[in-house]
């Protein structure tokens, strides 16, 4: 296993040597609790309301009529990109609406389960062993 690339072909890494800022999912300021997490395409979210049969109704604070549909499709664990694909909604719209729904407590954002940067070694080793046992 190579430990480092030769200096000549190593590229400058953005933010190399700096520690990523601690990620706080919510900031309680400005008089309200606000969801502030970065929503990656692979970030997991799910509806908080587990009653499976009740159809979602629009809420008065809904920014857009698509919001109940997002809650509906999130009755099982979904990623941001899945919601976008399944509901035919632009990714940016999904991000804004999921952020709204998280603020309202109707959606729980689970995240990706790892930090904001590249996955660390232990995780990569798990992925590699998972692939090898497919």
């Amino acid at each position: 296993m190579r430990s480092t690339a030769p200096a000549t072909d190593r590229l400058p890494i953005r933010g190399a040597g700096r520690r990523p800022a601690r990620v706080r999912p919510y900031s309680v300021t400005g008089g309200r609790t606000r969801f502030t997490q970065v929503l990656h395409v692979e970030t997991f979210v799910a509806a908080c309301d587990t009653r499976a049969s009740e159809p979602q109704r629009p809420e008065p604070e809904d920014r857009m009529p698509e919001m109940p549909a997002i809650v509906e499709v999130c009755r099982r664990m979904r990623t941001i990109a899945e919601i976008s694909a399944l509901l035919k909604l632009p990714l940016g719209v999904v991000r804004v609406l999921v952020s709204d729904l998280a603020d309202q407590g109707r959606i729980r954002v689970y995240g990706t389960g790892h930090g904001p940067g590249r996955p660390e070694r232990a995780l990569l080793e798990r992925v590699l062993s998972g692939l090898r046992s497919l």
Binding site: M1, R2, A5, D9, L11, P12, I13, R14, V38, H40, V41, E42, T43, F44, A46, T50, V73, R76, M77, T79, A81, E82, S84, A85, L86, K88, L89, P90, L91, G92, V94, R108, Y110, G111, T112, G113, H114, P116, G117, R118, P119, E120, R121, L123, L124, E125, R126, V127, L128, G130, L131, R132, L134
Partner: protein, 211 residues
């Protein structure tokens, strides 16, 4: 970037027929989600690659963009209000009950780089899918991955009837540094797709410092 499904019946079908994994109903916790990008020119086999390994029918999304878009350092100033649509497919592989890999196939042209900035955030790495008959098509993907320091591997999708090349020939033609993996594969065959992914993850591991 805008994603919307281009083919509604396929979408509905995907929603209905999707094989459900146990973790999808466990709302006490979510699995860890990791992702890999597959980039290359049109027709190089990105969709096939994703389909071969995905446990669900790949979800097809579209990025609608204006045609005149240009990268940051090359603003042409050419006006063009018409829009163009770019398909992006992604698939899913459950590696353990608490670990899921997503594979995103993304178009390789330089004008889509603005989309990649979003996709590379937190990614394990990228696979540059190459077709030896149109090797030029993968230059932008190589440039992009190199410029942002993302670990990448080159997978040469061998098409029947095209000349067979050795990995080292391709490495030389593409000026790939010696430590970057180059392999010959067939995007239709799941085993070679899995091998490509494993090669990339192994390379990313090599490039990740010990804690």
């Amino acid at each position: 970037m805008v994603f919307a499904v281009s083919d509604p019946p396929a979408c509905a079908q995907a929603l209905a027929d999707e094989p459900v994994q146990p973790w999808q109903y466990d709302r006490s916790r979510a699995p860890v989600a990791v992702k890999v990008l597959v980039a290359g020119g049109f027709g190089v086999g990105k969709t096939t690659f994703v389909s071969s390994v995905s446990e669900i029918a790949p979800l097809r999304t579209e990025a609608v963009m204006t045609q005149a878009s240009a990268p940051t350092d090359d603003l042409s100033g050419t006006p063009d209000k018409s829009t163009t649509t770019v398909a992006m497919d992604f698939g899913r592989v459950t590696l353990a009950d608490d670990l899921v890999l997503y594979v995103y196939g993304t178009p390789g042209q330089k004008r889509f780089w603005f989309m990649w900035d979003d996709l590379v955030r937190g990614a394990i790495g990228g696979i540059v899918l190459a077709d030896t008959r149109r090797l030029r098509d993968c230059f932008p993907a190589l440039d992009y991955f190199e410029s942002c320091g993302l670990p990448y591997a080159v997978a040469v999708n061998h098409f029947e009837g095209s000349d067979a090349y050795e990995p080292e020939d391709v490495r030389e033609a593409l000026a790939i540094p010696p430590h970057v993996p180059v392999l010959i594969m067939d995007a239709r065959r799941r085993d070679t797709v899995v091998e490509s992914l494993a090669t990339l993850v192994g390379h990313a591991l090599d490039a990740t410092p010990e804690p």
